[in-house]
Amino acid sequence: MSTSNGMTSIARKFFMALSGFFLIIFLLQHCTINMMSVFSSEMFNSVSHFMGTNPLVQFALQPVLAFGVFFHLGMGIYLEMQNNNARSIKYAMNKPSENASWMSRNMIITGIMVMLFLGLHFYDFWLPELNIKFIQGDMTGLNDAGNFRYYEELQHKFHDPIRTGLYVLAFVFLSLHLLHGFQSAFQSVGFRSNRWSPVIQKLGNSYAIAVPLGFIVIAVYHYINA
């Protein structure tokens, strides 16, 4: 996949798609676990504790996830810079909306907005978790009262309407990103057929609406019930 000039454009898009598939699967499991908090605080606490203390998740899957996120971002920015360089003089008059969707033309914008949100999300949840578990060394997952702390921390974060609003906005950008990204990833790995591509298109659209909508429901639910 590499040449004397480095990785080829098709190989870059292939790895971009692979990291995209990985993040799509991750988002689905993340949304599923978070959705438990809407139905049962005990179930959410139990699963959160398992995910937060299981060595396989913490020391094998989490580094892979971090690599996947930063690779997807870094490669996306690199491809965008290459693409901008491929047309140094722009058209005086251009009508891109005549032949391509807004989502497909603005993946870098929606992607960067999601990544900016990840900064807030890490600050809210990931960094405090790292502090408690690996700096303070408290792997019990319990608060001062001796109960699991995960559900209570989740509700505390969504007490703030501005934070909840930012989360909702980020999930709208995530939806826009996925509306093109899902089916585009299949094309990048060479999968396209008259029989299955329409199914993938519908599945992608459903996923791109359902998963971000699920995250929005979770955020708004905890804001209302905080």
Binding site: T8, K13, A92, K95, H180, Q187, G190
Partner: protein, 250 residues
């Protein structure tokens, strides 16, 4: 029809260039876009001005020479036609029409609306061919049985005229649709199998070397292609290239 034309004028490849405005009167709605350009050039020559340089040859949508970005779209507002097949009835009387050359780093402007598309030739030279023994023992191509579906797809891919509208319209100036059509028209046929791996690798490498952008799968190229080349070809080239890089020994 009376029209105002805003046309890109550029003396040579080193000139900065700029849009220049021209008024043209008495254009027939039944005339082709290039006939309108001929009328403009006649007017300019009569006034002692330099005519607008633009590529054209067959004027029937076959050669792929004509290449104008008209009112923000490659080959203008009509679909499945080249600039030479575009008719003035697609425009309104009194309209202002923007006419620009293809814009891509790999397609430098030579003069006015003429761009250098030799990057496509170099991509073809890298592998867009079938090596055939022509010493007198050449086998009749029709002697090789080919499935109808494969022949149809190969023929569809082979209708690409290499005009460059895909590059011009792609937001990344990607040449994936062109290269994939050329890879597909050979890869789908048994005669093209012998060099399939080498072809995919070398043509993609040359495409990247020419400075075309990456494919974002927006589908704009397919919409603007005057021959309706399908995105299916890009997926096929991705498959050809990825499998070739894993299995090729060269």
């Amino acid at each position: 029809m009376d029209l105002t034309l805003k046309i890109w004028r550029q003396k040579n490849k080193d000139d900065k260039g700029a849009l220049k405005s021209y008024d043209i009167k008495g254009v027939s709605p039944d005339s082709s876009f290039l006939e309108m350009m001929d009328l403009l050039n006649n007017n300019l020559i009569e006034k002692g001005e330099n005519p607008v340089a633009f590529d054209h040859d067959c004027r029937e949508g076959i050669c792929g020479s004509c290449s104008m970005y008209i009112n923000g779209e490659a080959h203008g507002p009509d679909r499945l036609v080249t600039t030479c097949q575009l008719h003035m009835r697609k425009f309104k009387d009194g309209e202002t029409i923007h006419i620009e050359p293809w814009r891509a780093k790999a397609f430098p402007v030579i003069k006015d609306l003429v761009v250098d598309r030799s990057a496509f030739d170099r991509v073809m030279s890298a592998g867009g061919f079938v090596s055939v023994n022509t010493s007198g023992n050449t086998q009749d191509a029709n002697a090789t049985p080919i499935a109808k579906a494969a022949a149809d797809k190969a023929f569809d891919a082979a209708t690409c005229i290499g005009c460059g509208a895909c590059v011009a319209t792609c937001k990344n100036a990607s040449a994936m649709l062109f290269v994939s059509a050329k890879v597909s028209q050979l890869a789908l046929l048994p005669q093209g199998q012998v060099e399939a791996q080498r072809r995919a690798i070398h043509m993609v490498e040359q495409m990247d070397h020419e400075g075309f952008g990456n494919c974002s799968n927006t589908g704009a190229c397919e919409v603007e292609c005057p021959k309706g080349i399908s995105l299916e070809n890009i997926a096929r080239m991705n498959r050809e290239f990825l499998s070739a890089t894993i299995t090729s020994e060269s």
